[in-house]
Assembly symmetry: C2
Homo-oligomer: 210 residues x 2
Amino acid sequence: MSKGILTVISGFSGAGKGTLMRKLTRDYPNYALSVSMTTRAPREGEQEGRDYFFVDTDTFQERIRQGQMLEYACYCGNYYGTPGDYVQEQLEAGRDVILEIEIQGALQIRKLMPDCLLLFVTPPNAGELRRRLEGRGTESPEVIARRLARAAEESEGIEAYDYIVINDDLGECVRQIHSMVQNARYTPARQETLINEIRGELNSFSKGAE
Amino acid sequence: MSKGILTVISGFSGAGKGTLMRKLTRDYPNYALSVSMTTRAPREGEQEGRDYFFVDTDTFQERIRQGQMLEYACYCGNYYGTPGDYVQEQLEAGRDVILEIEIQGALQIRKLMPDCLLLFVTPPNAGELRRRLEGRGTESPEVIARRLARAAEESEGIEAYDYIVINDDLGECVRQIHSMVQNARYTPARQETLINEIRGELNSFSKGAE
Protein backbone atom coordinates (compact mmCIF):
# COMPACT_ATOMS: atom_id res chain seq x y z
CA MET A 1 0.00 0.00 0.00
CA SER A 2 1.55 3.26 -1.04
CA LYS A 3 1.33 6.33 1.13
CA GLY A 4 -1.58 8.73 0.69
CA ILE A 5 -1.37 12.25 -0.69
CA LEU A 6 -1.64 15.28 1.58
CA THR A 7 -3.68 18.03 -0.11
CA VAL A 8 -3.74 21.51 1.35
CA ILE A 9 -6.68 23.68 0.30
CA SER A 10 -6.61 27.44 0.66
CA GLY A 11 -8.64 30.13 -1.01
CA PHE A 12 -10.69 33.25 -0.76
CA SER A 13 -13.41 33.66 1.82
CA GLY A 14 -16.69 32.63 0.19
CA ALA A 15 -14.94 30.60 -2.52
CA GLY A 16 -16.78 27.49 -1.33
CA LYS A 17 -13.92 25.49 0.20
CA GLY A 18 -16.07 23.88 2.89
CA THR A 19 -18.75 22.71 0.44
CA LEU A 20 -16.07 21.36 -1.95
CA MET A 21 -14.37 19.40 0.80
CA ARG A 22 -17.62 17.92 2.12
CA LYS A 23 -18.66 16.80 -1.36
CA LEU A 24 -15.18 15.43 -2.11
CA THR A 25 -15.15 13.26 1.02
CA ARG A 26 -18.75 12.13 0.34
CA ASP A 27 -18.16 11.29 -3.35
CA TYR A 28 -14.84 9.47 -2.93
CA PRO A 29 -14.19 7.12 -0.01
CA ASN A 30 -10.42 7.48 0.25
CA TYR A 31 -10.25 10.95 1.80
CA ALA A 32 -9.71 11.80 5.46
CA LEU A 33 -10.34 15.34 6.66
CA SER A 34 -7.71 16.71 8.98
CA VAL A 35 -9.11 18.43 12.08
CA SER A 36 -7.34 21.50 13.46
CA MET A 37 -6.41 22.07 17.08
CA THR A 38 -7.15 25.36 18.82
CA THR A 39 -6.94 27.04 22.21
CA ARG A 40 -10.02 29.17 21.63
CA ALA A 41 -13.26 28.24 23.42
CA PRO A 42 -15.78 26.08 21.53
CA ARG A 43 -18.65 28.03 19.99
CA GLU A 44 -22.30 27.01 20.16
CA GLY A 45 -22.77 23.76 18.24
CA GLU A 46 -19.04 23.02 17.71
CA GLN A 47 -18.01 19.46 18.47
CA GLU A 48 -14.69 18.25 19.89
CA GLY A 49 -12.87 16.22 17.21
CA ARG A 50 -15.22 17.25 14.42
CA ASP A 51 -14.83 21.02 14.23
CA TYR A 52 -11.63 21.29 16.27
CA PHE A 53 -9.62 19.59 18.95
CA PHE A 54 -10.01 22.03 21.85
CA VAL A 55 -6.99 22.21 24.18
CA ASP A 56 -5.52 24.68 26.67
CA THR A 57 -2.55 26.91 25.88
CA ASP A 58 -0.03 24.82 27.87
CA THR A 59 -0.96 21.68 25.92
CA PHE A 60 -0.71 23.51 22.59
CA GLN A 61 2.68 25.07 23.42
CA GLU A 62 4.00 21.70 24.60
CA ARG A 63 2.97 20.18 21.25
CA ILE A 64 4.84 22.94 19.41
CA ARG A 65 7.96 22.29 21.53
CA GLN A 66 7.74 18.56 20.79
CA GLY A 67 7.58 19.23 17.05
CA GLN A 68 4.11 17.70 16.90
CA MET A 69 2.43 20.49 14.92
CA LEU A 70 2.65 20.45 11.12
CA GLU A 71 1.89 24.16 11.11
CA TYR A 72 0.41 26.65 13.54
CA ALA A 73 -0.39 30.33 13.93
CA CYS A 74 -1.65 32.66 16.61
CA TYR A 75 -4.69 34.88 15.88
CA CYS A 76 -6.27 37.23 18.39
CA GLY A 77 -4.48 35.55 21.26
CA ASN A 78 -5.53 32.01 20.31
CA TYR A 79 -3.45 29.25 18.76
CA TYR A 80 -4.66 27.32 15.71
CA GLY A 81 -2.73 24.50 14.12
CA THR A 82 -2.55 21.06 12.52
CA PRO A 83 -1.51 18.12 14.74
CA GLY A 84 0.91 15.97 12.77
CA ASP A 85 0.10 12.57 14.32
CA TYR A 86 -3.38 12.18 12.79
CA VAL A 87 -2.17 13.30 9.34
CA GLN A 88 0.80 10.92 9.41
CA GLU A 89 -1.30 7.95 10.57
CA GLN A 90 -3.83 8.47 7.79
CA LEU A 91 -1.15 8.92 5.10
CA GLU A 92 0.68 5.78 6.27
CA ALA A 93 -2.59 3.87 6.05
CA GLY A 94 -2.82 4.94 2.39
CA ARG A 95 -5.62 7.48 2.88
CA ASP A 96 -5.51 10.88 1.18
CA VAL A 97 -5.68 13.68 3.70
CA ILE A 98 -7.37 17.02 2.99
CA LEU A 99 -6.53 20.05 5.04
CA GLU A 100 -7.97 23.56 4.83
CA ILE A 101 -5.59 26.28 5.97
CA GLU A 102 -4.36 29.74 5.03
CA ILE A 103 -1.34 30.50 2.95
CA GLN A 104 1.17 30.89 5.82
CA GLY A 105 0.27 27.43 7.11
CA ALA A 106 0.31 26.01 3.58
CA LEU A 107 3.87 27.25 3.08
CA GLN A 108 4.97 25.77 6.44
CA ILE A 109 3.58 22.38 5.34
CA ARG A 110 5.21 22.56 1.91
CA LYS A 111 8.59 22.95 3.67
CA LEU A 112 8.01 19.95 5.95
CA MET A 113 6.39 17.76 3.29
CA PRO A 114 7.57 18.88 -0.16
CA ASP A 115 5.40 16.38 -2.04
CA CYS A 116 2.09 17.62 -0.67
CA LEU A 117 -0.34 19.15 -3.18
CA LEU A 118 -1.30 22.83 -2.73
CA LEU A 119 -4.63 23.93 -4.21
CA PHE A 120 -6.02 27.46 -4.21
CA VAL A 121 -9.79 27.84 -4.62
CA THR A 122 -11.23 30.95 -6.24
CA PRO A 123 -14.60 32.10 -7.58
CA PRO A 124 -14.67 32.11 -11.42
CA ASN A 125 -14.01 35.85 -11.87
CA ALA A 126 -13.29 39.08 -10.05
CA GLY A 127 -16.93 40.28 -10.04
CA GLU A 128 -18.08 37.05 -8.41
CA LEU A 129 -15.25 37.28 -5.88
CA ARG A 130 -16.38 40.81 -5.00
CA ARG A 131 -20.01 39.70 -4.54
CA ARG A 132 -18.92 36.88 -2.26
CA LEU A 133 -16.63 39.10 -0.19
CA GLU A 134 -19.41 41.66 0.19
CA GLY A 135 -21.76 38.93 1.35
CA ARG A 136 -25.48 39.59 1.60
CA GLY A 137 -25.01 43.22 2.57
CA THR A 138 -25.86 42.38 6.17
CA GLU A 139 -22.27 42.24 7.46
CA SER A 140 -20.67 45.21 9.16
CA PRO A 141 -18.13 47.29 7.18
CA GLU A 142 -15.46 45.94 9.59
CA VAL A 143 -16.21 42.32 8.69
CA ILE A 144 -16.09 43.12 4.97
CA ALA A 145 -12.87 45.12 5.38
CA ARG A 146 -11.28 42.20 7.27
CA ARG A 147 -12.29 39.71 4.55
CA LEU A 148 -10.94 42.04 1.91
CA ALA A 149 -7.60 42.54 3.63
CA ARG A 150 -7.27 38.80 4.02
CA ALA A 151 -8.18 38.19 0.38
CA ALA A 152 -5.58 40.72 -0.77
CA GLU A 153 -2.96 39.03 1.42
CA GLU A 154 -3.87 35.53 0.18
CA SER A 155 -3.85 36.70 -3.44
CA GLU A 156 -0.17 37.63 -3.09
CA GLY A 157 0.68 34.00 -2.42
CA ILE A 158 -1.22 32.30 -5.25
CA GLU A 159 1.94 31.55 -7.26
CA ALA A 160 3.16 29.18 -4.53
CA TYR A 161 0.25 26.79 -5.18
CA ASP A 162 0.34 23.88 -7.61
CA TYR A 163 -3.11 24.57 -9.06
CA ILE A 164 -5.81 27.22 -9.10
CA VAL A 165 -9.22 25.57 -8.65
CA ILE A 166 -11.98 27.68 -10.20
CA ASN A 167 -15.18 26.98 -8.32
CA ASP A 168 -17.81 27.58 -10.97
CA ASP A 169 -19.64 24.24 -11.11
CA LEU A 170 -19.44 22.29 -7.83
CA GLY A 171 -19.55 18.77 -9.32
CA GLU A 172 -17.00 19.58 -12.03
CA CYS A 173 -14.76 21.22 -9.44
CA VAL A 174 -14.83 18.19 -7.12
CA ARG A 175 -14.00 15.84 -10.03
CA GLN A 176 -11.12 18.12 -10.95
CA ILE A 177 -9.67 18.19 -7.43
CA HIS A 178 -9.94 14.40 -7.29
CA SER A 179 -8.08 14.02 -10.58
CA MET A 180 -5.34 16.40 -9.39
CA VAL A 181 -4.86 14.24 -6.29
CA GLN A 182 -4.88 11.03 -8.34
CA ASN A 183 -2.28 12.43 -10.74
CA ALA A 184 -0.07 13.54 -7.84
CA ARG A 185 0.65 9.83 -7.25
CA TYR A 186 2.62 9.79 -10.49
CA THR A 187 5.25 12.47 -9.91
CA PRO A 188 8.82 11.12 -10.04
CA ALA A 189 9.19 11.76 -6.28
CA ARG A 190 6.17 9.50 -5.62
CA GLN A 191 7.35 6.84 -8.07
CA GLU A 192 10.83 6.52 -6.61
CA THR A 193 10.37 2.80 -5.88
CA LEU A 194 9.45 1.98 -9.50
CA ILE A 195 12.25 4.19 -10.84
CA ASN A 196 14.83 2.48 -8.61
CA GLU A 197 13.52 -0.98 -9.56
CA ILE A 198 13.86 -0.07 -13.24
CA ARG A 199 17.37 1.33 -12.82
CA GLY A 200 18.37 -1.83 -10.94
CA GLU A 201 16.97 -4.01 -13.72
CA LEU A 202 18.77 -2.03 -16.43
CA ASN A 203 22.02 -2.42 -14.50
CA SER A 204 21.69 -6.18 -13.97
CA PHE A 205 20.55 -6.59 -17.58
CA SER A 206 23.63 -4.81 -18.96
CA LYS A 207 25.90 -6.89 -16.67
CA GLY A 208 24.26 -10.04 -18.05
CA ALA A 209 24.87 -8.81 -21.60
CA GLU A 210 28.61 -8.31 -21.05
CA MET B 1 -9.64 31.23 -26.53
CA SER B 2 -6.75 30.33 -24.26
CA LYS B 3 -3.55 28.86 -25.62
CA GLY B 4 -3.20 25.10 -25.87
CA ILE B 5 -0.87 22.94 -23.80
CA LEU B 6 2.31 21.48 -25.27
CA THR B 7 2.87 17.95 -23.98
CA VAL B 8 6.19 16.23 -24.55
CA ILE B 9 6.12 12.43 -24.31
CA SER B 10 9.28 10.41 -23.80
CA GLY B 11 9.81 6.92 -22.53
CA PHE B 12 11.43 3.54 -22.91
CA SER B 13 11.55 1.70 -26.19
CA GLY B 14 8.55 -0.65 -26.26
CA ALA B 15 6.66 1.32 -23.60
CA GLY B 16 3.84 1.90 -26.08
CA LYS B 17 4.21 5.63 -26.71
CA GLY B 18 3.01 5.45 -30.32
CA THR B 19 -0.13 3.46 -29.46
CA LEU B 20 -0.94 5.81 -26.58
CA MET B 21 -0.59 8.89 -28.76
CA ARG B 22 -2.74 7.44 -31.55
CA LYS B 23 -5.52 6.52 -29.12
CA LEU B 24 -5.29 9.88 -27.36
CA THR B 25 -5.74 11.83 -30.61
CA ARG B 26 -8.56 9.47 -31.66
CA ASP B 27 -10.45 9.63 -28.34
CA TYR B 28 -10.18 13.39 -27.78
CA PRO B 29 -10.56 15.86 -30.64
CA ASN B 30 -8.42 18.71 -29.30
CA TYR B 31 -4.98 17.20 -29.85
CA ALA B 32 -2.61 17.93 -32.70
CA LEU B 33 0.38 15.67 -33.26
CA SER B 34 3.61 17.47 -33.98
CA VAL B 35 5.57 16.02 -36.91
CA SER B 36 9.37 15.96 -36.76
CA MET B 37 11.72 17.14 -39.47
CA THR B 38 14.69 15.05 -40.61
CA THR B 39 17.47 14.97 -43.16
CA ARG B 40 17.50 11.19 -43.40
CA ALA B 41 16.00 9.52 -46.45
CA PRO B 42 12.37 8.35 -46.27
CA ARG B 43 11.97 4.62 -45.58
CA GLU B 44 9.53 2.36 -47.40
CA GLY B 45 5.99 3.45 -46.60
CA GLU B 46 6.89 6.69 -44.83
CA GLN B 47 4.88 9.73 -45.90
CA GLU B 48 6.02 13.36 -46.11
CA GLY B 49 4.16 15.39 -43.46
CA ARG B 50 2.77 12.33 -41.68
CA ASP B 51 5.87 10.44 -40.54
CA TYR B 52 8.38 13.26 -41.02
CA PHE B 53 9.03 16.39 -42.98
CA PHE B 54 11.95 15.31 -45.16
CA VAL B 55 14.42 18.11 -46.00
CA ASP B 56 18.05 18.39 -47.08
CA THR B 57 20.86 19.29 -44.72
CA ASP B 58 21.19 22.90 -45.95
CA THR B 59 17.49 23.56 -45.28
CA PHE B 60 17.71 22.01 -41.81
CA GLN B 61 20.83 23.97 -40.85
CA GLU B 62 19.26 27.19 -42.13
CA ARG B 63 16.23 26.55 -39.87
CA ILE B 64 18.54 26.06 -36.90
CA ARG B 65 20.32 29.36 -37.69
CA GLN B 66 16.97 31.15 -37.96
CA GLY B 67 15.93 29.85 -34.52
CA GLN B 68 13.05 27.95 -36.10
CA MET B 69 13.68 24.58 -34.40
CA LEU B 70 12.21 23.97 -30.93
CA GLU B 71 14.80 21.26 -30.44
CA TYR B 72 17.07 19.18 -32.61
CA ALA B 73 19.76 16.54 -32.46
CA CYS B 74 22.11 14.78 -34.84
CA TYR B 75 22.18 10.93 -34.90
CA CYS B 76 24.31 8.88 -37.24
CA GLY B 77 24.96 11.87 -39.47
CA ASN B 78 21.29 12.86 -39.81
CA TYR B 79 19.44 15.75 -38.22
CA TYR B 80 16.14 15.24 -36.40
CA GLY B 81 14.15 18.04 -34.83
CA THR B 82 10.87 19.81 -34.13
CA PRO B 83 9.91 22.78 -36.34
CA GLY B 84 8.54 25.50 -34.07
CA ASP B 85 6.09 27.15 -36.51
CA TYR B 86 3.57 24.29 -36.62
CA VAL B 87 3.63 23.86 -32.82
CA GLN B 88 3.15 27.60 -32.22
CA GLU B 89 0.30 27.88 -34.74
CA GLN B 90 -1.57 24.99 -33.16
CA LEU B 91 -1.08 26.28 -29.59
CA GLU B 92 -2.23 29.78 -30.58
CA ALA B 93 -5.35 28.23 -32.10
CA GLY B 94 -6.07 26.64 -28.70
CA ARG B 95 -5.16 23.08 -29.69
CA ASP B 96 -3.10 20.85 -27.42
CA VAL B 97 0.05 19.66 -29.13
CA ILE B 98 1.62 16.26 -28.44
CA LEU B 99 5.23 15.65 -29.27
CA GLU B 100 7.26 12.46 -28.89
CA ILE B 101 10.96 13.03 -28.35
CA GLU B 102 13.90 11.83 -26.30
CA ILE B 103 15.06 13.35 -23.06
CA GLN B 104 17.69 15.72 -24.52
CA GLY B 105 15.05 17.27 -26.78
CA ALA B 106 12.51 17.36 -23.93
CA LEU B 107 14.95 19.35 -21.80
CA GLN B 108 15.63 21.79 -24.67
CA ILE B 109 11.88 22.39 -25.00
CA ARG B 110 11.39 22.83 -21.26
CA LYS B 111 13.96 25.66 -21.38
CA LEU B 112 12.22 27.41 -24.30
CA MET B 113 8.68 26.80 -23.04
CA PRO B 114 8.72 26.35 -19.26
CA ASP B 115 5.00 25.64 -18.97
CA CYS B 116 5.00 22.63 -21.26
CA LEU B 117 4.08 19.28 -19.68
CA LEU B 118 6.73 16.52 -19.65
CA LEU B 119 5.47 12.93 -19.43
CA PHE B 120 7.62 9.82 -19.22
CA VAL B 121 6.02 6.52 -20.28
CA THR B 122 7.19 3.26 -18.75
CA PRO B 123 6.01 -0.36 -18.62
CA PRO B 124 4.43 -1.24 -15.24
CA ASN B 125 7.52 -2.93 -13.77
CA ALA B 126 11.14 -3.82 -14.40
CA GLY B 127 10.41 -7.38 -15.58
CA GLU B 128 7.99 -6.12 -18.20
CA LEU B 129 10.50 -3.47 -19.29
CA ARG B 130 13.10 -6.19 -19.76
CA ARG B 131 10.74 -8.33 -21.86
CA ARG B 132 9.93 -5.36 -24.08
CA LEU B 133 13.58 -4.39 -24.51
CA GLU B 134 14.46 -7.98 -25.39
CA GLY B 135 11.65 -8.03 -27.94
CA ARG B 136 10.62 -11.32 -29.53
CA GLY B 137 14.08 -12.77 -29.40
CA THR B 138 14.51 -12.20 -33.13
CA GLU B 139 16.58 -9.01 -32.84
CA SER B 140 20.35 -9.08 -33.06
CA PRO B 141 22.36 -8.67 -29.84
CA GLU B 142 23.50 -5.28 -31.22
CA VAL B 143 19.92 -4.00 -31.51
CA ILE B 144 19.12 -5.15 -27.97
CA ALA B 145 22.34 -3.64 -26.64
CA ARG B 146 21.53 -0.32 -28.32
CA ARG B 147 18.00 -0.25 -26.86
CA LEU B 148 19.38 -1.11 -23.46
CA ALA B 149 22.01 1.63 -23.55
CA ARG B 150 19.36 4.12 -24.59
CA ALA B 151 16.98 2.96 -21.84
CA ALA B 152 19.72 3.33 -19.22
CA GLU B 153 20.47 6.84 -20.49
CA GLU B 154 16.79 7.85 -20.50
CA SER B 155 16.26 6.43 -17.02
CA GLU B 156 18.85 8.88 -15.66
CA GLY B 157 16.64 11.78 -16.71
CA ILE B 158 13.26 10.63 -15.33
CA GLU B 159 13.32 13.13 -12.44
CA ALA B 160 13.12 16.04 -14.89
CA TYR B 161 9.63 14.95 -15.98
CA ASP B 162 6.38 16.16 -14.43
CA TYR B 163 4.75 12.73 -14.36
CA ILE B 164 5.57 9.07 -14.84
CA VAL B 165 2.88 7.41 -16.96
CA ILE B 166 2.65 3.69 -16.22
CA ASN B 167 1.38 1.94 -19.32
CA ASP B 168 -0.42 -1.05 -17.88
CA ASP B 169 -3.96 -0.63 -19.21
CA LEU B 170 -4.11 1.36 -22.47
CA GLY B 171 -7.54 2.97 -21.95
CA GLU B 172 -6.79 3.95 -18.35
CA CYS B 173 -3.44 5.35 -19.39
CA VAL B 174 -4.94 7.51 -22.15
CA ARG B 175 -7.58 8.91 -19.76
CA GLN B 176 -4.81 9.67 -17.28
CA ILE B 177 -2.68 11.54 -19.83
CA HIS B 178 -5.75 13.53 -20.89
CA SER B 179 -6.52 14.51 -17.28
CA MET B 180 -2.88 15.56 -16.74
CA VAL B 181 -3.13 17.85 -19.78
CA GLN B 182 -6.50 19.23 -18.66
CA ASN B 183 -5.15 19.97 -15.17
CA ALA B 184 -2.09 21.70 -16.62
CA ARG B 185 -4.45 24.53 -17.68
CA TYR B 186 -4.87 25.40 -14.01
CA THR B 187 -1.31 26.08 -12.89
CA PRO B 188 -0.76 29.65 -11.63
CA ALA B 189 1.41 30.40 -14.69
CA ARG B 190 -1.51 29.43 -16.97
CA GLN B 191 -4.06 31.36 -14.90
CA GLU B 192 -2.12 34.63 -14.89
CA THR B 193 -5.00 36.53 -16.52
CA LEU B 194 -7.50 35.49 -13.84
CA ILE B 195 -5.00 36.16 -11.05
CA ASN B 196 -4.28 39.67 -12.38
CA GLU B 197 -7.98 40.39 -12.81
CA ILE B 198 -8.60 39.34 -9.19
CA ARG B 199 -5.70 41.41 -7.86
CA GLY B 200 -6.99 44.40 -9.81
CA GLU B 201 -10.48 43.93 -8.37
CA LEU B 202 -9.14 43.63 -4.82
CA ASN B 203 -7.18 46.87 -5.32
CA SER B 204 -10.11 48.85 -6.72
CA PHE B 205 -12.39 47.38 -4.05
CA SER B 206 -10.12 48.51 -1.21
CA LYS B 207 -9.79 51.99 -2.78
CA GLY B 208 -13.60 52.22 -2.88
CA ALA B 209 -13.75 51.18 0.78
CA GLU B 210 -11.39 53.95 1.88
